[in-house]
């Protein structure tokens, strides 16, 4: 084994256990608030409850992708100044992207169901939905790139550049899709306008955002640790392989 890592930092720590418990409680409370306590909307009826999941999820997805881009930039441009060669940034980028993809998926599912009730169809070529689905696939590609077996530094660089390309592309995608939809279809777009959210609904939405943020942070922290474990395992497997080759050579000699 390369080094014996401090087990406390590899799996659960007291801090993350507390964070996990808080996340669980927050989510139960969010369910109560969103599904039971808060009232149905005058215009949208029960469908408004979908937004308590939909809006926080997209916020987390975007936030996570920003974190990925930021960490990737640090990995590319600042790694020489770090004793771990920037691996910390690489892991953070990877775990954030994965969590971002999960929540982008949640956004799409809840958005389509919300659309079914409000617009009458699962899919409208709404600018936001279209941008989100493109973003979702972009980061699926990024994750596919990360999963490839390769030298961790080379793979990290490729992934980081891809993250930067995606980051640059997000405003372009958003702008072009938005422009495409608003240029010709003003009427159909305003049909599905999201309602003004006020009062209890506003507080529920705000609270849900907090709860989902806690859950996402917990997920990112754990995924980060698991990525580190994966790296350790790969290194160990490599060392074992080298050792066994050396033994073979010695036996032959």
């Amino acid at each position: 084994m390369t080094q014996v890592p401090d087990s406390r930092h590899m799996t659960a720590t007291t801090a993350t256990r507390v964070l996990g418990t808080v996340a669980l409680v927050a989510v139960v409370l969010m369910g109560l608030l969103g599904l039971v306590v808060s009232p149905a909307d005058v215009v949208q009826g029960q469908a408004v409850r979908m937004l308590y999941l939909h809006v926080p999820s997209i916020w987390i997805a975007y936030g996570a992708f920003v974190l990925t881009s930021f960490s990737s930039a640090l990995f590319l441009f600042r790694s020489r100044h770090r004793h771990d060669g920037g691996r910390h940034h690489d892991r953070l980028a990877g775990s954030a992207a994965e969590v971002g993809v999960v929540f982008a998926g949640v956004t799409l599912v809840t958005g389509m169901l919300w659309g079914r009730v409000t617009w009458g169809t699962y899919w409208q070529w709404d600018a936001r939905l279209t941008t989100t689905v493109l973003l979702f696939v972009t980061y699926l590609g990024y994750l596919a790139l990360r999963r490839l077996p390769a030298d961790p530094v080379i793979r990290g660089r490729r992934a980081a550049v891809m993250a930067l390309i995606s980051f640059v592309n997000v405003p372009i995608v958003h702008f072009s899709v938005d422009w495409w939809r608003t240029l010709h279809q003003k009427a159909s777009l305003s049909v599905g306008r999201r309602p003004e959210i006020t009062g209890e609904m506003y507080w529920t939405l705000l609270y849900s955002t907090l709860a989902v943020t806690i859950v996402a942070s917990w997920l990112i922290v754990h995924r980060y640790r698991v990525i580190r474990l994966e790296e350790l395992r790969d290194e160990e497997a490599l060392e074992a392989l080298i050792a066994s080759r050396l033994r073979e050579d010695e036996a032959q000699a």
Binding site: G141, A144, L145, S176
Partner: protein, 222 residues
């Protein structure tokens, strides 16, 4: 830097000229795609004419992806990247050179696809200048994005599937802008053709800047 880029592009085109894959394989395949679209739309002349701009760019995407794949296969098969690393050619020049090589090949592809669309889908061209400008912008954007994503998938066992997965989301705005600009050039839409065309030039410029800056990271050894 530009001279080195030209060297790289010339090398690529010479390799291409010897194998004639663009003319021999990719162009006929792309034409076939145009025919298959007619199946999809049940040879409905109105629909085909209306969709001609988008179908053109989808066919370019399809054929162009194959060209990019090939442009990197010829490098990795012989370990050329190691040779580049040893030679004095810098990463930015290599990026620009590869992009130029791909660009010229895609232009060839489009010279065959363009008449194909006009003849098969019965399209009338209203605005030649807009048509050529948007074809130029779209092809530039396609080439630089393609080379950026292509080098990322280069040499991997899964490159054939990974490249399109990386490339298509990045190119989505180009496909959108290209389709809209062509519609205007075909006289099917009144407005905004030039704005869509300029958007493609902006995309090309942005990704060229990214590529020039980042290509080095993709070639460096661990």
């Amino acid at each position: 830097m530009l001279r080195e880029a030209l060297l790289v592009a010339r090398k690529d085109l010479r390799v291409e000229w010897r194998s004639k894959v663009t003319i021999g394989h990719v162009a006929p395949l792309a034409l076939l795609v145009l025919v298959v679209f007619a199946f999809a739309f049940d040879a409905n002349a109105g629909l085909l004419e209306f969709g001609a701009g988008g179908l053109y760019w989808v066919a370019v995407l399809f054929g162009g992806t194959l060209l990019i794949q090939r442009a990197f296969d010829v490098e990795t098969e012989d370990g050329n990247f190691d040779a580049f690393r040893m030679s004095a050619i810098g990463a930015p020049s290599l990026f620009l050179g590869k992009s130029l090589g791909v660009f010229i090949q895609v232009v060839f592809l489009e010279l065959i696809l363009g008449p194909g669309v006009v003849l098969l889908y019965n399209v009338r061209i209203d605005d030649w200048v807009l048509l050529l400008a948007s074809a130029l912008g779209g092809t530039l954007a396609f080439s630089v994005c393609g080379v950026l994503c292509g080098v990322m998938a280069a040499g991997l066992r899964v490159r054939a599937t990974l490249l399109p997965l990386l490339l298509v989301p990045v190119l989505a705005p180009v496909l959108l802008a290209g389709s809209r600009a062509f519609e205007t050039a075909f006289g099917l839409r009144a407005e905004a053709g030039w704005t869509w065309a300029s958007l493609m030039f902006v995309i090309a410029a942005v990704h060229t800047a990214v590529g020039v800056r980042a290509f080095g990271f993709l070639l460096e050894e661990g």
